[in-house]
Symmetry: C2
Subunit: 405 residues, 2 copies
């Protein structure tokens, strides 16, 4: 498995484009429309936000993917088309316009939006922009497409991998945007992945669902879940590997590659959380079950007290233990070891549930790095889980509270 360039257009048969069409009407330099297209029909799989309030494009995409087939993705930023007048009509209109521009059926188009809630989408801008995007589709378009789906993201998220399946070189690539949220743009976790693997929609959905649960669903920036979250994978089969239609060895290789790609996106989204100064990874090891490990890791990563301590590079392990305690996952506090790790070293601060004397200076140095790991050993079983998040900083408050002043 090796990382390559090309992002969402790296796989054979895919092209992409991104441009500014006017949805972000106050900022004419920022791209706000992305288009991703496959030469041939794709097996399609998707996971959606579990928020009870779902944006219109979510419902339209669900409908279009019912048959497990798609050809293209159209996405705007700047307006979420959620709780907005004409929501369904406008989401459908985006598909109609894209279908016409690309010579495809609107039913084969995935539509997504991210941005402000409750305001009418500027569909006129999109009606003009989508044909323009279709006209500039290229193998080099991933960078523009990645920029066009960004809202408060400070870093473009674009990765691609190559892997051998059944003697063929298979490529997986994608673009994503983070879950940071900002007024007036309420943001969203979006991820669009393309691959030239030959795989059935059923196997693609199985892999995506399983992997999402262990990657994107274990990212916490602020615990809020958007109305528009979506992760879609399109697989056009042009790598000509033997069709993956069972959970065989080829499925495992594909699935491992998809996991790798999703973990890269999950970590980059966590690291780019609003106002974040560092990526926090929490490993919970040797738990009775993966579920309890996950629950504890999520509680630690979500705790505002842990997050602020990480901002202050403060080895406040009591807050870690406390968060584990209120996670409602069963464990024995008296067995717990807690260690802080980073590129410069590691330090054990709690052994069998009680504090250890440790050097404050070296703890500070370990916790001051860009990536910090909170490693928790429960010493109770064999299951593990990892969750990713970021610290809670002045900038988070500034971005989300102080925007208009």
């Amino acid at each position: 498995m090796k990382q390559i360039s090309g992002g969402v257009a790296a796989a054979t048969g895919f092209t992409a484009a991104g441009l500014h069409c006017g949805v972000k009407n106050k900022n004419h330099t920022k791209k706000d429309l992305a288009l991703i297209v496959s030469q041939g029909d794709c097996a399609a799989a998707a996971v959606y936000t579990r928020n009870r309030v779902k944006a219109a494009p979510i419902y339209v995409t669900m409908e279009h993917l019912e048959n497990g087939v798609a050809r293209a993705i159209v996405c705007n930023s700047g307006n979420a088309n959620a709780c907005a007048p004409m929501g369904h009509e406008n989401a459908q209109k985006m598909c109609d316009v894209a279908g016409e521009a690309l010579g495809l059926s609107p039913d084969d188009i995935v539509v997504a939006s991210t941005g402000v809630i409750g305001q009418t989408l500027n569909i006129k801008a999109l009606e003009e922009g989508i044909p323009k995007a279709a006209a500039i589709l290229s193998k080099d378009g991933s960078d523009d497409a990645a920029q066009a789906i960004m809202t408060t993201d400070t870093v473009k998220k674009e990765f691609a991998l190559q892997v051998q399946i059944g003697g063929k070189s298979v490529t997986l690539g994608g673009i994503a945007k983070g879950s940071g949220m900002i007024h007036p743009n309420m943001g969203t976790m979006l991820c669009f992945i393309t691959t030239d693997a030959a795989i059935t929609p059923e196997m693609l959905q199985a892999a995506l669902s399983e992997i999402t649960a262990r990657t994107f669903n274990r990212v916490v920036v602020d615990g809020d879940t958007s109305t528009n979250d979506m992760c879609v994978v399109l697989a056009n089969g042009m790598a000509e590997n033997p069709l993956i239609e069972w959970k065989d060895d080829n499925y495992k290789v594909f699935s491992a590659a998809l996991y790798q790609l999703c973990e890269l996106f999950a970590k980059s989204i966590a690291a780019d959380g609003e106002g974040a100064s560092r990526l926090i990874t929490c490993n919970v090891r040797n738990a009775r079950s993966e579920e309890t490990a996950e629950r504890m890791a999520m509680a630690v990563i979500s705790s505002p007290l842990v997050k602020t301590a990480m901002f202050g590079a403060d080895a406040n392990w009591g807050r870690v233990l406390c968060a584990m305690g209120y996670s409602k996952a069963p464990f024995r506090p008296e067995h717990v070891d807690i260690q802080f790790q980073s590129v410069v070293g590691s330090i054990t601060v709690c052994k069998s549930g009680e504090g250890l004397a440790f050097d404050e200076d070296s703890a500070k140095s370990i916790l001051s790095q860009d990536e910090v790991i909170i490693d928790i050993n429960l010493q109770e079983g064999q299951d593990n889980a990892t969750a990713w998040g970021c610290d809670l900083t002045y900038d988070y408050v500034k971005i989300n509270g102080d925007y208009r002043t």
Copy 2:
């Protein structure tokens, strides 16, 4: 029902004291030991933290209250005696020393601690301090006791009420500390209530459990739950009202007064959340059940995005609707009305799930007050719930992240 002065020593037969004994060893001006004593035996009821990691004094108190009888409360701040060496021994020792100083059985003493986790309690300071506190017990001691349980609280929390039960004047009073947390002092929600009502331990526990669920358990400062949370009520019967032993009319009057008192504490704790600039109340009305209303109100009050918007006095109702959506409580978004209210007026920002045009200036003025209400009408049923919290400010991050720098 009328509010009176005297706090935790307002009820007949109760005295209190507070002083500095040395647990807070770096700050000799701050009180760190509180003592509350009844002249006669009390019916006792308590609720405790549901955190799996519980501090030693929680277990000792649970044991001492098994028979439903107590006489006194001893509490220190500055050290939580949680995950600390000699925890159980030291908590028990506090009861032994208090028992000796007061001429009571150690089993009749409630013990509580709040402060840093994982460090050995300075029991020597307490062994010297407790007899000194016992020597200065008085009807005027509530103020000192209230100060002695504070950690990062900026406001002393002390209330008392008087109510007529069966022709007798019954007093309920108490002191509390907030749930804000700070390193090295990991704080805690503590509330000690005394009353001269005559009531059985069973009825007292029933009232406290029911009321706690609707008051303290609906306060969110940062969502973290401490290892040391405790609310205790002692009732010594000296008001000589007819003994409350059934859920009769007298029970209802007592229970209404206890609710009133607990709501006062809950609101003052929420308003004094770490770094808070304003109290946020969320009412969810006309829900299918109280449980769904509660779940939604808690989700809204807990949302970092809602909390930062409130800090910015930003009428960002999309974040409110979004938080309701991920609360997992069932509701129809298309029925939802959302209104912001404060002392200067009210403004409806969302009607039947869609945004209304509203005057930004008057919204800003409404949201800039010290107390802001987010009023949500689900239009689905007849049940209601209220939750309390505060905004998320730069100071929260400063207090919890930047403490040592």
